[in-house]
Structures are given as C-alpha cells and as structure tokens.
C-alpha cells in the first residue's frame, strides 16, 4: 500500500492521456519521492507527491518531443468489474460506469492547461492555493481557467449526449 497512490495515478493518467505512460510516470514519481525524501519538509504529502508527478510528466513530454498523446479511454473500462464492486444494482452500476467513461473522455478532450486545472480541482480536490503552488500560477488565473474548462466540458458533454449512443 502506497500513500496517495490513486491520486498519483489519476493525475498521471490525465496529464499523459496514456495508460502505459501513466504507470511509468507513477513509478518514476514514487522512486524520485523516495530518493528525495530527505528534502521533504513535512506539510501536505499529496501536494508534494503530485508536484513530483508533474516534474516527471514534464520530463517525459520533453523526451518525446512535445507530442501530445491521443486520448484513449476506449477498452480499458471493464463493466463487469464495475458491477462486481458496486453497491447498487447491476443496471445502476453499468449506467454509472458508462457515465464515468463519458466524463473521462470529456475531461481528456480538454486542452491544456484547462485539463490539468480541472483535474486538480474536481478529481484531486485540491484548493486554489494548492493548485496555484503546484502549477505556479496566481489564483485569478486558476479561476479563469476553471471557468473555461467547465464551459468546454459542459459543451462536450451536451454534444456527446446529442451525438447518440457514444
């Protein structure tokens, strides 16, 4: 059991939009965290770990020449698993899994830096101040990025709903 493993993985997943890379980034981040642990001065451990994930991600992006990965949530959703671990009925579990997938795809469709800001706020549940420290931007910027991210997200979700069975 590793501290904040899900948070680390989810952040890496949405930053890279690549399931394989996300695993490598998470591993890289924990190894770096372990090596640089003597530099950890206490405080918010999750922020500290996510900042390391971010550094790993930026290094990774530089290495691969700045090309962004294509969003890919297709096929990695296992409805059976969702049914098995849900407390609700199979039908409800399937609907929830489908909605989770739709939301993931929509979030993945956001361009940076709006995607990262939204993920940190909505999925990682960080405060504006924590996001500001992590991304090194002022609070006003975070607010305007969130507004744009949410507007785009709403539009995408409405469009995918109108688009039929996707």
């Amino acid at each position: 059991m590793l501290p904040h493993m899900d948070a680390v993985y989810a952040y890496a997943r949405f930053l890279s939009r690549d399931p394989i890379a996300a695993e490598d980034l998470a591993q890289d981040a924990y190894l770096r965290a372990f090596r640089s642990f003597s530099g950890y001065r206490g405080g918010n451990a999750k922020s500290w770990l996510l900042a390391i994930v971010r550094t790993c991600f930026l290094d990774w992006t530089r290495r691969r020449g700045g090309h962004e990965a294509e969003p890919a949530w297709e096929g990695d959703e296992d409805p059976a698993a969702a049914v098995a671990d849900g407390a609700d009925t199979p039908e409800e579990a399937l609907i929830r899994a489908a909605d989770a997938t739709a939301l993931r795809r929509a979030v993945d469709g956001l361009p940076e830096p709006f995607r990262e800001t939204l993920v940190l706020r909505e999925l990682e549940e960080m405060s504006y101040r924590e996001i500001g420290d992590l991304m090194n931007v002022p609070l006003g910027t975070i607010m305007s990025r969130l507004a744009r991210a949410r507007r785009m997200l709403s539009r995408m979700l409405t469009a995918s709903l109108a688009g039929g069975d996707d």
Partner: protein
C-alpha cells in the same frame, strides 16, 4: 441572455467554496438579481455534482502497486549501508503513517514494511524474508515449474557452480513446485520452492559461509514469517515461509534426512 463576463471567475470560486463570507454574500445577491448568472451557476453546480457522483478518477491498477512496491524495495536494498538508516526509516514511518490514517493498517503491515523499505540486508535472514515476500508476486515464484526433481536438478546446471540436493518430499506433505534463481548475500543462488498445503516454502541454498559464526543458527523470524537455517554437506540452507514454525521445523527434518541420501 448572457451571463456577466466579469462575474465568471467569482462564480467558480463560489461553487468551489473558495470565497470569504463577504464575497460569497455579494455573489449570492448578484445571483438573485441576474437570471443569466443564476442559470450559469446552476449549470456549473450540476456539472460539479455529476463529476462527484461517479469515480471519474481511475483507481490505480493493483498490478501497478505491486510493481512500484517492488521497485522501491529494490531501491531500498541498493542504498549503501551507511545511508540505510535515516531516509529509509523516515520514509517508512511516513508511508505507514499516511496509510494508517486511511484506516488500512494491520494485516499487510508486516509484508509492506519488509517489502517496502526494510533497509538493506544488514542481516541475511531479513533479506531472505524480503526475497520470499517478493517471490510471491505473481510470476516471480518459479523459473522452472515442475514437481519432478529430475527436471529441477539439471536445470540449475551451468547456472550456478554447485549442485544443490533436490529431494522429493511430496509423501511427507511438502510437494516440490519448482525452482528459480534469486539473489542473496550478493550472489546468485538456487531456490527450491516447495508447498505446504496452500503455503509456499522458499528454500535458499548457499555455499556455507566461510566463518562458522557468520550465519545465524536458526529460528530467527520476522513478523508473520518463519525462517529456519541449517548447514549440511558444505551448504547453508535457509527455509522461509509463512507456515508455522513447527511446519518449517518439520520441513527441515524431512529435507535434511533425504538430502543426504
């Protein structure tokens, strides 16, 4: 109807609970007076609720956890001896602290502590227990899987420079499951894998340490694991398992009796 562009950022702060009381009141008042902003506010709230209703953030795959724990164990084992103390121990305390806070302590604690940051093998017994735990990660246990000792024994030929005994013990309740190579005491050593009911016994075999007193006699154990050591025919045998100590002692007796023949 258009929402007020200059209120957009403040509206985010309102739904995110980031406004102080005075600003929150001012925004609420504005929403009461401006239907366009109120509609926008409702839509954003709904979106936020929808995002919170399902697990949009994917959980980390279990295999990834294992992979990272393994990588960290290797990393910890590679730390130079003089540095083994503080960073690893501090990290371990921190990692375990975060996790007990999450209310998930206990059962796996021993495994985790050993696998995760037991700093390096100042002690061979500890190292073998860590190797044992690591071997239980799927795909790591056995290189040559067979219950036939006539397959296991030749498999080691050319891979190591001595010939370990491979007795058959199935009729004594310890069926042979196979063998693999592992690293212990800085060298590649053969490991025989036996089973006891649903448990795994890893038997590490090393050429006897030069100094007689170097290896601990027997019976050392880490929490949840039994470790038995004996010396026979110029070889050191270390059996590690989560079976009871009595079972492991019996294993030693049976193995030693047949290894000589």
């Amino acid at each position: 109807m258009a929402a007020c562009a200059d209120k957009e950022a403040m509206l985010q702060a309102l739904i995110d609970g980031e406004l102080d009381a005075a600003n929150a009141l001012a925004m609420e008042a504005h929403l009461g007076a401006c239907p366009a902003c109120a509609a926008e506010h409702r839509a954003w709230r709904a979106l936020r609720e929808r995002l919170g209703a399902v697990d949009v953030a994917p959980a980390a795959p279990p295999a990834l956890r294992l992979r990272i724990e393994e990588a960290l164990a290797r990393e910890a084992a590679a730390l130079p001896a003089r540095r083994e103390g503080r960073p690893a121990r501090r990290w371990r305390a921190w990692a375990i602290g975060g996790w007990s806070a999450a209310g998930m302590m206990a059962a796996t604690a021993a495994t985790f502590a050993i696998l995760f940051l037991q700093p390096p093998p100042s002690d061979l017994g500890d190292q073998l227990v860590a190797d044992h735990v690591r071997s239980l990660i799927p795909g790591h246990l056995i290189d040559v899987a067979t219950s036939d000792r006539h397959v296991v024994k030749p498999w080691f030929n050319g891979r190591i420079d001595f010939a370990p005994p491979v007795p058959e013990l199935a009729d004594r309740g310890f069926p042979l499951a196979g063998g693999r190579l592992d690293v212990a005491a800085g060298r590649v050593v053969p490991v025989l894998v036996y089973r006891r009911r649903l448990h795994v016994i890893n038997l590490f075999i090393l050429p006897a340490a030069a100094k007689a007193g170097e290896a601990r006699p027997s019976g050392a154990s880490a929490p949840g694991y039994a470790l038995v050591h004996w010396r026979q025919g110029g070889l050191d045998f270390w059996a590690v398992s989560d079976v009871g100590k009595a079972d492991l002692d019996q294993f030693r007796t049976e193995f030693a009796a047949r290894a000589g023949s």
